[in-house]
Symmetry: C2
Subunit: 199 residues, 2 copies
């Protein structure tokens, strides 16, 4: 165990490094964040950013590109904050059950039109493009068009894009990319998806 003095010295060294680090970082800029990888937490971490923004009283936009369960905790929550949250769910959109390519493409395009509008909306602090990577992966939208829309976003706006298999062009464009890696998963041990955790 460290003695008290060693401990103090170690902390002082860490603090000095942190101070130097923070002093050099003064640019305020809207970030493009990508949450990808096979692990849990991609959408969930985007929701955490929504919670932070709401805590500061800032407005957010959320486009859900994959229509999932109807009664998710996040949807109920976001609907409750309708004065600060603009929520668009791909109504007729992509689900794992549909088999109609043309319908899926139309739905993806309609959701993207909402996203594009939000990217220039001066009242928004943060836009979440939830599961956008999935529709890109299925070629429902051209990646180049999405990249172009992100490049022309309002400079101060933060954008979070979630979903597995983020395309290379988005990773290239992003300021911050986090890959969620699965270490252990309870489904492997026969536990089903739990309310208030997975949805």
């Amino acid at each position: 165990m460290t003695t008290s003095e060693e401990h103090r010295a170690k902390k002082a060294r860490i603090k000095a490094v942190k101070d130097r680090l923070y002093a050099s970082k003064t640019r305020e800029k809207g970030l493009i964040l990508v949450h990808t990888g096979p692990g849990k937490g991609k959408t969930t971490a985007a929701l955490g950013l929504v919670l932070r923004a709401l805590g500061h009283g800032l407005r957010v936009g959320v486009v859900q590109f994959v229509k999932g369960r109807r009664e998710t905790g996040e949807r109920r929550f976001l609907e409750r904050f309708s004065e600060l949250v603009e929520l668009k769910v791909m109504g007729e959109g992509f689900t794992w059950e549909t088999q109609d390519l043309e319908r899926d493409r139309r739905a993806a395009r309609a959701a993207f039109a909402e996203a594009r509008r939000m990217l220039t909306d001066p009242t928004l602090h943060l836009v979440v493009l939830d599961e956008l990577n999935i529709v890109l992966r299925y070629d429902y939208l051209p990646v180049a068009e999405v990249v172009e829309a992100l490049r022309s976003k309002r400079p101060e706006l933060h954008v979070v894009i979630t979903g597995r298999n983020a395309p290379e062009a988005l990773i290239e464009l992003a300021d911050l990319v986090t890959e969620m890696k699965l270490v252990k998963h309870p489904f492997r041990e026969g536990v089903r998806a739990q309310r208030g955790i997975e949805y």
Copy 2:
């Protein structure tokens, strides 16, 4: 066997497999989740779980083991939901600025006492032990004691533990471990921490 009979037999076999599969996935169990790794999103994803729980009208407890900035979005947000959120921040606790080992240990212990109480509180759906891994890493609390408290938690309760360098004993105990891996980080390019994103 006629085609129609073959078809029926095949469907029956598939149904039997499905039934077995689903029968084995019915356990409702409180999960122990660990968010670790050097990437962003560990605390943020825990906040996303809080948002989901609140969307379902479920109560949550949050213990922040590392006292950070005072005016974080999450703290303001959680304080606003005081009827559903029990929030404990290590008041005199560990920060990167303090240099007093004994004081840090006392603060960690006090926060842990709150956590221990929450782990058996029947009104809570989810408990977040934010940055617990950090205080364990600094030996402010014995890992064995934390593991013991988690083992004796209320069985239905979900617990999320965040922080880099999760100790092996916690990874062993957890149902789900997600490692957040940094792919790109804007700090490297001189952008400072942003309100509504990093705090």
